[in-house]
């Protein structure tokens, strides 16, 4: 029996279906991300679990007990809101203390637990400060301490880092992961930031248009996306038109003027001559000299991005993005004629009809 189970969870707003028949099983202590573009239903899902939105149909069970029939105030979930939703008229310590007061925790224990929670997020020095006098990152920590101090059964995070600047966001991601590991609370994170989801989670739930596209570990979802949407949403990717051909030594995939052997792992239910969508990650592509497993093109632009170079290469299959590490090796200049190569196993193949 899984810790948290969503079964056929559905929410309709009039004609619009925000969440469509969502199924998910979460184990105790797991860190799960609901990832998708805005309007994909991830926040609505979180709000149904929290109880702020009524589910149209479906079930949510926590430790085997129905959750949807419980009032939001009695669900015992810790929530960090996108706006943090700190109480502006209370100090950091009073904010954190509020949930314990509601649980009627005795004063001595309360003060001790508030101090512990503030220490956990590294804010002991700012206990008596009001939220308006704090930076975004500090407010975020108070919100996290306030949610964790009640020892919630599940921690729900609604885009908690989206209001922070890039550098602080990265720091908070690492810290959030450490804190979650320390306290071991089962956590559900809603985010539209794929790198955030990959950094933090044990598993990612990629959502689009109210439906789940894929549930997988970050590496698996990135390397083996279940749909073109997942492939394009998780990181950058190149999509090309390819075709299945038969050459003396076996079936091959033809892309532009090059062709690749069909990898062992590829399903073999395709017939010869069939059109395929071929997707390759930009960092898997390298500049090669051999004519066989490669695609010809001309460098349109090369952009320096610190630890890597970003190339745009015009090919017979359209513009391709190539990422090369800035490791001192010689790289082509703009206008150079190049050949792009990649290992056959790094290609994702999909029959054309299944593409959305």
């Amino acid at each position: 029996m899984s810790f948290l189970v969503l079964e056929g969870l559905t929410k309709r707003f009039g004609e619009l279906t925000a969440v469509d028949d969502l199924h998910l099983k979460v184990e105790q202590g797991e860190f799960i991300s609901l990832l998708g573009p805005s309007g994909c239903g991830k926040t609505t899902t979180l709000q149904m679990i929290a109880g702020f939105v009524q589910a149209t149909s479906g079930r949510v069970t926590l430790e085997g007990r129905d959750l949807l029939s419980v009032k939001p105030a009695q669900r015992g979930l810790g929530i960090v809101f996108q706006s943090y939703a700190l109480f502006p008229h209370m100090t950091a310590a009073q904010n954190v203390s509020f949930g314990l007061e509601m649980q009627k925790v005795p004063k001595v224990e309360r003060e001790q637990r508030v101090a512990e929670a503030l220490a956990l997020v590294g804010l002991s020095a700012l206990a008596d400060r009001y939220p308006r006098r704090m930076s975004g990152g500090q407010q975020q920590r108070v919100a996290l301490a306030r949610a964790l101090v009640i020892r919630p059964r599940i921690l729900l995070l609604d885009e908690p880092l989206s209001n922070l600047d890039a550098k602080l966001r990265e720091e908070m991601q690492i810290e959030l992961r450490q804190i979650q590991r320390t306290v071991g609370t089962t956590t559900l994170l809603v985010t539209h930031d794929q790198s955030e989801a990959m950094t933090l989670s044990d598993r990612i739930v990629v959502m689009n248009g109210g439906r789940v596209e894929q549930v997988a570990r970050p590496h698996e979802a990135y390397e083996h996306p279940a749909s073109p949407f997942v492939a394009s949403f998780l990181g950058k990717t190149n999509v090309m038109a390819g075709r299945l051909t038969q050459i003396a030594d076996g079936p091959r995939v033809a892309v532009g003027d090059g062709h690749w052997p069909l990898a062992q792992t590829s399903p073999n239910r395709w017939s010869e001559g069939q059109s395929l969508h071929v997707t390759v990650r930009p960092e898997k592509i390298s500049f090669v000299s051999g004519p066989v497993c490669s695609l010809g093109g001309e460098v349109r632009s090369r952009i320096f991005q610190g630890n890597h170079w970003l190339f745009q290469v015009d090919t017979a299959c359209g513009p391709m993005t190539v990422i090369r590490q800035n490791d001192g090796s010689a790289l082509p200049l703009e206008g150079d004629r190049v050949r792009l190569g990649w290992p056959a196993q790094d290609m994702q193949l999909r029959a054309e009809s299944s593409a959305s």
Binding site: A50, G51, F52, P72, A73, Q74, R75, G76, L77, G78, I79, F81, Q82, S83, A85, L86, F87, P88, H89, F98, G99, M102, Q103, Y130, R132, R133, R146, A147, I150
Partner: protein, 289 residues
Amino acid sequence: MNRQQSTALTPWLLAGPALLLFLGVVLVPLIMTGMLSFHDFSTSKGIQPVFLLKNWEEVLTDSYFHEMFARTLRVALWVTLACLVLGAPEAYVLSRMSPQWRGVFLLVILGPLLISVVARTLGWALLFGGQTGLINKALMGAGLIQSPIPFMFTETGVVIALTHVLVPFMVLSVWTALQRVDLATENAAQSLGASAFTTLRRVVLPQALPGMLSGAIIVFALAASAFATPAIIGGRRLKVASTLAYDEFLNTLNWPLGAAVAVLLLLGLTATIVGSNRLVERRWAQVFQ
């Protein structure tokens, strides 16, 4: 150099017309009223431009004037309290409405402000109307009271009518404060285990408090200085500071005494407003700025 000079002058030139108007129609008459309060008056000789403290002594020592000012304060306090009790919940409901309905109800709340205070107060006079007023008839018909309540020429009547006139100011003030409240704070309180009532008391109310206080200051000042409503509902029998000053000016023609009453009212109000503003700022500065 020239250009710099002209840019330094620009704000003064732009503000000039308004400053002159302020000087001409507010400051000068106020100073003249202040000076007038030290002049002498007798029915035979009229106003004597001399410097005397006689009017001030009279206003500050005579129990007749004490009663008037005490009544003004009492009425203003009751009106402020009634506006808080009626207006603050109304503003909260308004802030939680869907935008279309909010538009409609804002119009309903603000609509009365478009009608003259005199017309609205006369409306109340009709409803109160002595023994046979509509309200008394309804209350007696419902069996709630045995004999008619005297509304006309009583403080109760003045407080009711003034509350009706001034409650929109309270609603607007509290509503403005509530608009800055993050709706998610209510959800946060709930998720931490707070009941709806606790959420209201410990999360919403404290955040609405600055709006309630500024609304209270506005309502108090307007109620204490109101003229038309006390004049019509209170009449000549139930004078407050503003109707008292009016009567001294226009009925007994004792302008200097009327001026002393008016200046005292102004000083009292200014002290109240500045004092409570200080209090609000000191208490909430670090929370709401």
